[in-house]
Symmetry: C2
Subunit: 114 residues, 2 copies
């Protein structure tokens, strides 16, 4: 079970799921909002949206499933809070990938100029 090949593919899937969660204007807006402010209830978030409350709830659950938000029930409302951890991994991935590319370009450049 410690097959590195499988681990790699699991990681790929998790990252893809997180990216997919961000890959929707409504959800990206929710993340941005919640990252800049305190936890908010579903109704509160829905009041600023064109979607119905249930429509928004689905997006919130999607984000929660991807680990980007966390919800907790407080009385009769459930509050959603931003979670930064997964974003750090995504950001590192993007930086690493871009860096590899830049390095490859630099090597090519120095080779051509030789």
């Amino acid at each position: 079970m410690s097959n590195p090949r499988l681990k790699f593919r699991g990681q790929l899937k998790r990252r893809a799921a997180a990216f997919a969660a961000l890959g929707d204007a409504t959800r990206l807006g929710l993340v941005t909002t919640l990252a800049h402010g305190p936890p908010k209830s579903i109704t509160e978030l829905a009041s600023h949206s064109r979607l119905t409350r249930q429509g928004l709830t689905r997006h919130l659950r999607t984000l929660e499933l991807a680990g980007l938000l966390q919800s907790r029930r407080v009385g009769r409302e459930s509050l959603f809070e931003f979670r930064p951890e997964p974003l750090h991994d995504l950001s590192e991935y993007l930086e690493e990938v871009s860096k590899e590319w830049d390095d490859a370009l630099a090597k090519l450049k120095s080779f051509v100029e030789r």
Copy 2:
């Protein structure tokens, strides 16, 4: 037309589209592969995939539309090359959003400890 509100929403949509393009294990794998190596043809990429050539072509076009890849025709084959620019924007966004959150937490902490 220079309404900052509209500009903000256009940016939101572009970013969401880029995230969505990365939000699929097949496409994320393609990006990783092409970011670490030279441009490759469709057939070459398809030879390492479980998908059919046409299936892969769709994914490649999706990535190209999002600006993450660029294709050029060379003879009878079309080569796809990685483009790092959009990823830089996404990475910056993720960092900025996480940073805001960390700052907010720090403020809250210092307030509570006061």
